[in-house]
Symmetry: C2
Subunit: 323 residues, 2 copies
C-alpha cells in the first residue's frame, strides 16, 4: 500500500523527537518528551514561539518533577530549530501539533514526509481530522498516523492512535509501541472514527450540557458541580461501563441492562440510544466480565470505595464536601 521503509530504529530506541507546532498542545508534548528523557527539537513559525514554548516547559517542569522524570531528563535538552527541515533532520519520531486547519495539515504533513528521514513515523495531534483526509498530499503517506493526546499531554496519559487508508499498519503499531515506551496510555484503533473514542464520549456529554444551558435547564456551575461532585469522582479510576456494572449489584452488567434497559427509551438526554438487542447486551456483559477479571463484586465495590475516598482526599474534599 505504501513504499515506507522500516523505521530507522525500534520504538524503544528513540532518542530525538521533533515537535512541529509549539502551542498549548505541541508545547505540552515537548514538555512530556523532555520529562521522559528525550532530546526534543521544536519548530513553530510564530515569531514569539520560542519564548512561549520555553515558558510553558518551565511552568510545567515542577509538576513533571513531582511525577518523576526519567534519568537525565532536562528542559535544557530542548532545541528550537530555525526551520522545519532543521527540526526534523535528526528526528526518530515527529509529533505534529499545528492548528486545526485541514489545508494547513495537508501541506505540512506533505512537507514533513519530504523532510524527514525515510521510515520515521510522523504523528498528528489532530482532534478532528481523519488521517485519510490529511495524508492526501503526502508523497509517502504510509508512515503518517494520528496520535491524539489530551490536554495537557504531559499529564493526561491517554493517546489515541489510528491510521488513515494509506497508512501502513506497521506505522500504527510502531507509534503505539513508541507512545507506551514514552509513558503514555495507548488506545490503538482499528479504524477511523470521527472524534476517535474519548472525544465522542466527551462530546456527547458536552452537547447535552450546551442544550441544558441553552434551554435554561442548568447553569454552567450546575453542570460542572454535577460532574465533579458526582460521576466524575468515579471516572477518575473506573470507567462508565464498569461503574454501571456495579449499579447492577451482584448481578452486574447483565442485571443492570435487563433491569434498566427500558430507561434507554426515556428522554434522559437528547441522544437517542441504540437498540439494546441481544448482541449489544452480550457485548456489554462480556466486556465487563473481562474488565472485572477474577475480582468479585465485593472486590470491585471495595476498589471503587477506596478509589473515591483517595480521590476525595487527594483533591482536598474530605471533611468538607458541602458546597
Amino acid at each position: 500500500m505504501s513504499e515506507t521503509t522500516p523505521a530507522p530504529c525500534a520504538p524503544e530506541d528513540v532518542r530525538r523527537v521533533a515537535c512541529i507546532g509549539a502551542g498549548v498542545i505541541g508545547g505540552g508534548w515537548a514538555a512530556h518528551f523532555l520529562a521522559r528523557g528525550y532530546d526534543v527539537t521544536a519548530w513553530d513559525p510564530a515569531p514569539d514561539a520560542e519564548e512561549k514554548l520555553r515558558r510553558l516547559v518551565a511552568a510545567a517542569w515542577p509538576a513533571l518533577e513531582q511525577m518523576g522524570t526519567a534519568e537525565g531528563a532536562a528542559p535544557e535538552r530542548l532545541t528550537v530549530a530555525g526551520s522545519l527541515a532543521e527540526a526534523v533532520a535528526d528526528a526518530d519520531f515527529v509529533q505534529e501539533s499545528a492548528p486545526e486547519k485541514l489545508e494547513l495539515k495537508r501541506s505540512l504533513l506533505a512537507e514533513l514526509t519530504a523532510a524527514t528521514r525515510p521510515g520515521v513515523v510522523i504523528a498528528s495531534s489532530t482532534s478532528g481530522y481523519p488521517m485519510t483526509d490529511m495524508q492526501t498530499s503526502a508523497g509517502d503517506p504510509g508512515r503518517l498516523v494520528v496520535g491524539h493526546p489530551f490536554n495537557p499531554p504531559y499529564l493526561i496519559p491517554l493517546v489515541e492512535v489510528v491510521g488513515g487508508e494509506r497508512t501502513d499498519r506497521a506505522a500504527v503499531d510502531w507509534a503505539s509501541r513508541f507512545y507506551k515506551a514514552a509513558g503514555k496510555s495507548v488506545l490503538t484503533m482499528d479504524r477511523e472514527l470521527p472524534g476517535f473514542i474519548a472525544n465522542r464520549l466527551q462530546e456527547a456529554l458536552w452537547r447535552e450540557a450546551l442544550h441544558m444551558v441553552a434551554s435554561g435547564e442548568a447553569t454552567v456551575e450546575d453542570i460542572d458541580a454535577s460532574i465533579t461532585e458526582g460521576p466524575g469522582l468515579r471516572w477518575a479510576f473506573m470507567g462508565p461501563c464498569l461503574t454501571f456494572a456495579l449499579a447492577g449489584g451482584e448481578g452486574g452488567m447483565a442485571h443492570m441492562l435487563d433491569h434498566f434497559g427500558p430507561s434507554l427509551k426515556s428522554p434522559w438526554t437528547r441522544l437517542e440510544a441504540p437498540e439494546l438487542d441481544r448482541a449489544l447486551r452480550d457485548a456489554m456483559v462480556e466486556g465487563c466480565d473481562r474488565a472485572a477479571g477474577d475480582r468479585s463484586y465485593a472486590d470491585l465495590v471495595a476498589a471503587r470505595d477506596q478509589g473515591v475516598i483517595d480521590v476525595l482526599r487527594a483533591t482536598g474534599r474530605l471533611g468538607g464536601t458541602a458546597r
Copy 2:
C-alpha cells in the same frame, strides 16, 4: 398549593432519619446518615433485608471511618423497624429508596405522608420519575421532594433536589439545607427535568458508548480506558465547562467557542448540538468567568495540573501509566 405545616424542626436539628427501602441505595443512605451521627430507622419488606442492610453498613464502615465520622456516630444507632409506620413514627426526615416502579412509588409515598408526623419532609431517591408523577396519590404532597443520590450515597457527595408541581418550595429549601447539614453537595433544581442534571450528562455519554459497542467501533475496555486515562482524570475535580475553557488558552471559553464552535456540526457523537447562538455563547462564557472568579488562566492551569497529579498519585498511577 398545599396544607403542609412547618417541618417539626430546623434542617440542622434533625436527629432521626427514616430510610424506607434498604437495598443498595437505601442501605447506602443509611450508612451515610449513621456516619454523620444520626439515629437511623430502616424498613424494607424483604425477609432478608435486615441481614443485608447490616452487612452493607458493616462493609461500608471502615471506609466511612477513613473519611471521618461525626462524633458519636455508630452503626449501632441503626434500628430496623417491623413496619413502615413504626419506622417513620419518630423520624425528622424520611428518605425513600424503593425499587423504580411508578405505582409502587405512588402508593408508598401516599402511605408515608399518612404515617409521618405533619410537616416532616419526605425525599425520594428516584433516578427516573418526576415527583409530579409520583405524588398523585398522596394526601399531603407539599412535603414530597426528590433527593437523588449517586452510588454509593455514603461516598459520592452529589444529591439533586427538586420538587413536583404540588411540592411546597419550602420543602425543597428545607431538604437542600438538611442535605448540606448532612455533608452532601446539593444541586437544587428550579424545575423538573427528566434525568435531572448529572444523569442527563452521564446518560448522553453512556448512550454514545452503547452506540460504539453496537457498531463495533470500540470495546467496553476501550471506552472505560478512554475515560479513566483521559477526561475522567480532570472531571474528578474540574467540570467539563471549566476544563474546556482552559482548552481555549488565555482566551478561555470565548476563544474556545469562537474557534471550535464549528466542530459542533461535526459527527463526533450521535448527539446533535444546539445552535450556538449569541445567547448560548454568552451564557457559557459568563458561567466560566464566574467559575474562574479571580483566578487567572495561569492559576487555573496550575490548579488543573496539581489536581491531575494528585488524582494520579491517589489512584496509584504515578510512575507506571502505560496500559
